[in-house]
């Protein structure tokens, strides 16, 4: 097993470590955070590894949306490299992890159809997956309605899920059931891929994928309860029964009306001031989500210590790359809307010295 681990992951481990060293340093992030405005932020970004992704943007195209879309190209490149260098047995889970962005694109396309069916507008918010997607996004938008767009997905892995959910869409005229169905499908598939692995690969994948899943599952059940006031049985049906820290019993307890702070505090004893955060859930939830993302980040950083010849290293690196993009998105939004330091810094996943 050890030999196959070394032989399988040798190249990818070296490559991931090289790419890992190209992630923004705390100093880079501090400089970016200290930029006085959006244009200085772009100037600073052009001094980082993101420069090649911004080079072809003309001055008039330097809008927050375009910049955000462009820098995501780096994460797409990371995925491309990692998928191509990974051993055969590890590819399915990495590809499934990458499908997260495809699912987000699919949701964006469906939202675009409902709100403003213009391909140009929709295209600008899509994650740049290049050829690694099965979505005929433009044709879907041009189809003009959700039903025809979903029909175009025949033959893809999303069709079956969406065709079930379409019955509800037709009755309720809301994208909510489609989006929930897609989310549940995505995470179930990811969990299954992690379970198919063996030995250390399985442990590492379940730790990283499970941490991500915990965060999502917990936020879903809390949000559905707080914002949507869904019933217990709906909350259970719209969540997942598995995870790394978050057990089904925890989700069911929340669904049954248990004290949120008590459950979250028990599952994540390391998160400070849970009671205070959840005293006013509407304002505290975004902060709780940040804390959970930091927890995921710690799990990913832990994968870089010890034996590197397993799936944990590439998975952790890809998640870290995504978290970096999320931080940059916060900075782009903050600087373009001239938010003060106090307003945006709590939303950065990596802490930056003020």
């Amino acid at each position: 097993m050890a030999a196959s681990g070394v032989s399988g992951y040798a190249a990818i481990s070296a490559r991931v470590r090289a790419m890992y060293s190209s992630l923004l340093s705390p100093q880079d992030l501090a400089k970016l955070s200290d930029s006085p405005d959006f244009s200085s932020l772009i100037g600073q970004l052009k001094n980082t590894v993101y420069a090649p992704y911004l080079e072809d943007l003309k001055d008039k195209e330097l809008t927050p949306g375009r910049v955000d879309s462009k820098i995501k190209g780096r994460l797409a490149d990371f995925y491309y490299s990692v998928i191509h260098m990974s051993p055969e047995h590890a590819r399915p889970i990495i590809k499934q992890l990458y499908r997260y962005f495809e699912v987000q694109n699919l949701k964006a396309v469906l939202r675009g159809i409902v709100t403003d069916p213009s391909w140009e507008r929709v295209h600008n918010v899509l994650f740049p997956m290049g050829t690694m997607t099965v979505l005929p996004a433009q044709a879907m938008v041009e189809a003009g309605n959700v039903s025809a767009a979903v029909e175009l997905l025949q033959g893809t892995m999303y069709y079956e899920t969406l065709s079930f959910a379409m019955k509800r869409y037709s009755a309720e005229q809301s994208l909510f059931p489609l989006e929930v169905a897609l989310d549940l499908y995505y995470w179930r598939q990811l969990w299954q891929e992690a379970k198919k692995l063996q030995g250390q690969d399985r442990d590492q994948a379940l730790r990283i994928v499970g941490s991500l899943m915990d965060m999502n599952n917990l936020m879903w059940v809390i949000r559905y309860r707080v914002y949507h006031q869904l019933s217990e049985e709906e909350l259970i049906n719209y969540t997942l029964p598995f995870g790394y820290h978050v057990r089904d019993a925890d989700v069911r307890a929340i669904a049954a009306g248990a004290d949120l702070a008590a459950v979250v505090g028990r599952v994540y004893p390391g998160i400070p001031d849970v009671n205070m955060l959840l005293e006013e859930p509407r304002s505290g939830l975004p902060q709780l989500e940040q804390q959970l993302k930091r927890h995921v980040m710690k799990q990913c950083l832990a994968a870089f210590t010890g034996n590197p010849f397993h799936i944990g290293l590439p998975l952790a690196f890809l998640v870290l790359g995504d978290l970096e993009i999320q931080d940059l998105t916060v900075l782009i939004e903050a600087k373009s809307s001239q938010m003060s330091d106090e307003e945006f810094r709590p939303y950065l996943i990596r802490s930056v010295a003020a």
């Binding site: 070296a14 090289a18 003309k58 079930f164 217990e232 049985e233 709906e234 029964p241």
Partner: protein, 669 residues
């Protein structure tokens, strides 16, 4: 060879009448990388809008034709041999496509609707079959007074979750038919709980059975009618398929030609959209490799007598982020290019490290894996893989394995090692004399470690020099002087080596290069101090040279204190990384020793008597060494390149050369 292909910027002024002929030339040969000319001085804003509309119309026609081809089950085929010189007239093509669509649409829509109908009937049948034996009118289940009941299909993944969600509500839940994707289930409970049951079923995406109009009675009766209708529908579908197949056969070639015409027209108009329109002329800008320039110019002049062509050969000096990069392709260097490509795409003017790596990669591999016999085996394996005789999936690595094998064989000759046999073992078991031409790593362990460090020092110095060379070419004076691999850092590295030479003195492990530097009559401790200070404050000096303000980020005492702490950390990190980078090459010697050691271990397992068991153990041991150790040494070689060598001078991030082309396959490539 050392740099990407020389590029020429080309600017064309094309008379309107020759627009299409010129565009055809530019798109037809895969040599022209177009840039957007709409920002060109004098170009009217919005001048491209007509062409934009045209490009969108062609794109729409192309997609519509693709849909028709798909509906008829015709593949797009190869691009036809006939050359389409001009864009097709939209007004002529659109009605033609519409007519074909109309012809196909009627049968195709009918077919789709019949298929949907069939699917629905089959789904209903699928749900009813498990309750076929119940002698009860199906509508009575729905209209029961005290019982809430629901039969339907549900995504298999949701079955358990639905049951969990109903744990606190009295209910009966039965899986009537297990199916991998769509199990049929029956959910029942009291009417009083109907809202809870319904909510749970809905949130689990349970799709309740809905009978098509005209079906009633017992399940058995409905099933009988359904089967009859299914048969009729299948018959209709077959007839429609025959109609469409005949249509496809008669119009196949015409449809393919139309698709190709629409595609060509779309590509041409997409290219024209990016032209700048002046009053009677168009401005076209882009890049061509210097080698293709002459032939392209001739073709352009044949296409338009009045065309104005201005070319500006692009200097490799200076920072040129907008110049597309076309790499020199060479079959023999392809695997090395692939390794470099995994690290980054060179930018224009930047030294392409492929050739350097083509030398250092096999060299370092061979030094670590020196064995004449095993090296030759790798060489043969590499050749077989490259020629797709074995392990076809690894063809791209075949040559790399062959190079590494040849290098390993050469070092094996120097080390006097053949299939793990060294010194007296060769005479004893192989019955011939084979002395190391140089020396055996096992017999001079400290010597090989010292040589490995020396090799590393030479490679690192080369890395520093190449980095400076790149900085001079890109005129990046700030990084040339104060960059991580700039002049000051290099001077500090040399002083650091001198101090290392002084510290290790004449011990066996002392790197000779460091000792030689130390022997120079220079005050190295003082120089090391001075250069350390310069390295420490290199960020400050870079800001000075670049004219970047503020010189120190942050203000007041806090800002200065932070700057000093960061500067201290910088020098600390620099010293640590210089030491680790240098010592990192010890592994080259260590692996050479380990290689011999591993062979000795196999000999101890094999015993002393040269019987069959002995030779089988030696054979298995050699296979293990070639497979396992060869792989580890390969990884170490890659690691040394990615971490210690390429990082010193190679940045990557170049823009790929993507020429205009009419054929889809080349376009993607």
């Amino acid at each position: 060879m050392f740099f990407p292909k020389a590029m020429t910027e080309i600017e064309l002024i094309v008379p309107s009448k020759d627009l299409l002929a010129v565009t055809r030339v530019l798109s037809g040969y895969g040599v022209f990388h177009q840039t957007d000319s709409n920002n060109y001085a004098g170009v009217a804003t919005g001048s491209a809008s007509t062409w934009q509309e045209q490009a969108a119309a062609y794109s729409m026609l192309e997609r519509r034709l693709q849909t028709v081809l798909q509906a008829l089950g015709i593949d797009e085929g190869q691009p036809p041999l006939a050359d389409f010189d001009a864009m097709v007239d939209l007004e002529k093509m659109r009605p033609l496509v519409e007519q074909i669509e109309e012809d196909v649409k009627q049968s195709s829509d009918h077919l789709t609707s019949e298929r949907k109908h069939l699917e629905q009937l089959e789904s209903t049948l699928h749900q009813l079959e498990p309750v076929a034996d119940i002698n009860l009118d199906i509508s009575s289940l729905r209209n029961s007074r005290y019982l809430y009941s629901l039969i339907g299909v549900i995504p298999a993944a949701n079955v358990d979750r639905l049951q969990t969600s109903l744990a606190r509500v009295p209910n009966v839940f039965l899986t009537l038919r297990s199916d991998l994707a769509k199990p049929v289930v029956w959910l029942a409970g009291t009417k009083a709980n109907s809202d809870v049951l319904e909510r749970a079923a809905r949130s689990a995406y349970l799709d309740p059975l809905s009978l098509p109009d005209g079906y009633s009675g017992t399940p058995a009766k409905i099933i009988e009618s359904l089967r009859k209708t299914i048969e009729e529908t299948q018959q209709k579908i077959s007839e429609l398929k025959v109609i469409l197949a005949k249509f496809a056969e008669s119009r196949k070639q015409e449809l393919r030609n139309l698709l190709w015409q629409a595609h060509t027209s779309r590509v041409l108009s997409d290219a024209i959209v990016r032209y700048g329109q002046l009053r009677h002329t168009y401005v076209v800008t882009g890049w061509v490799t210097l080698a293709d320039m002459e032939s392209l110019t001739q073709r352009l002049k044949q296409a338009s007598k009045e065309i104005l062509i201005e070319t500006t050969p692009t200097s490799r000096s200076g920072h040129q982020p907008n110049v597309p990069v076309a790499l020199v392709t060479n079959r023999w260097l392809r695997p090395i290019q692939m390794l470099v490509g995994q690290y980054g795409h060179p930018s224009y003017g930047e030294l392409d490290p492929t050739l350097l790596m083509a030398f250092t990669f096999p060299f370092l591999f061979g030094a670590m894996f020196g064995d004449l016999g095993q090296g030759l085996v790798l060489l043969i394996l590499g050749i077989l893989i490259d020629n797709k005789i074995i392990m076809k999936g690894m063809q791209g690595l075949g040559l790399l394995i062959a190079y590494c094998g040849a290098s390993a064989a050469f070092f094996g000759y120097l080390y006097g090692s053949i299939f793990g046999f060294e010194g007296h073992l060769i005479e004893e078991y192989l019955h011939f004399h084979f002395e190391p031409t140089w020396f055996s790593p096992l017999e001079n362990i400290l010597g090989i470690l010292s040589i490995a460090i020396d090799t590393g020092i030479v490679i690192l110095i080369l890395g520093f020099l190449l980095s400076m060379f790149n900085n001079i070419r890109s005129r990046d004076w700030a990084h040339l002087l104060f960059g991580h691999s700039g002049v000051v850092a290099f001077a500090f590295y040399l002083s650091f080596l001198a101090l290392l030479g002084e510290f290790l003195g004449d011990t066996a492990i002392a790197p000779k290069v460091a000792v030689a530097i130390n022997s120079l009559p220079l005050p190295f401790p003082a120089l090391a101090g001075i250069f350390a200070l310069l390295v420490m404050f290199s960020g400050f000096f870079r800001n000075v040279v670049e004219g970047h303000r503020p010189l120190i980020e942050g203000t007041g005492v806090g800002g200065i204190a932070m700057f000093l702490v960061q500067s201290f950390m910088d020098i600390f990190e620099t010293v640590i990384s210089m030491l680790s980078n240098t010592l990192s090459f010890v592994r080259v010697g260590a692996f050479a020793v380990a290689h011999g050691g591993l062979s000795l271990a196999i000999f101890s397992l094999a015993g002393e008597k040269p019987d069959l068991g002995f030779w089988i153990t030696i054979l298995i041991g050699n296979i293990f060494i070639i497979g396992f150790e060869g792989l580890i040494v390969g990884i170490q070689t890659m690691r040394l390149h990615y971490y210690e060598i390429l990082g010193k001078f190679f940045h990557g991030g170049g823009m790929r050369f993507e020429p205009l082309t009419l054929t889809p396959s080349t376009e993607e490539g």
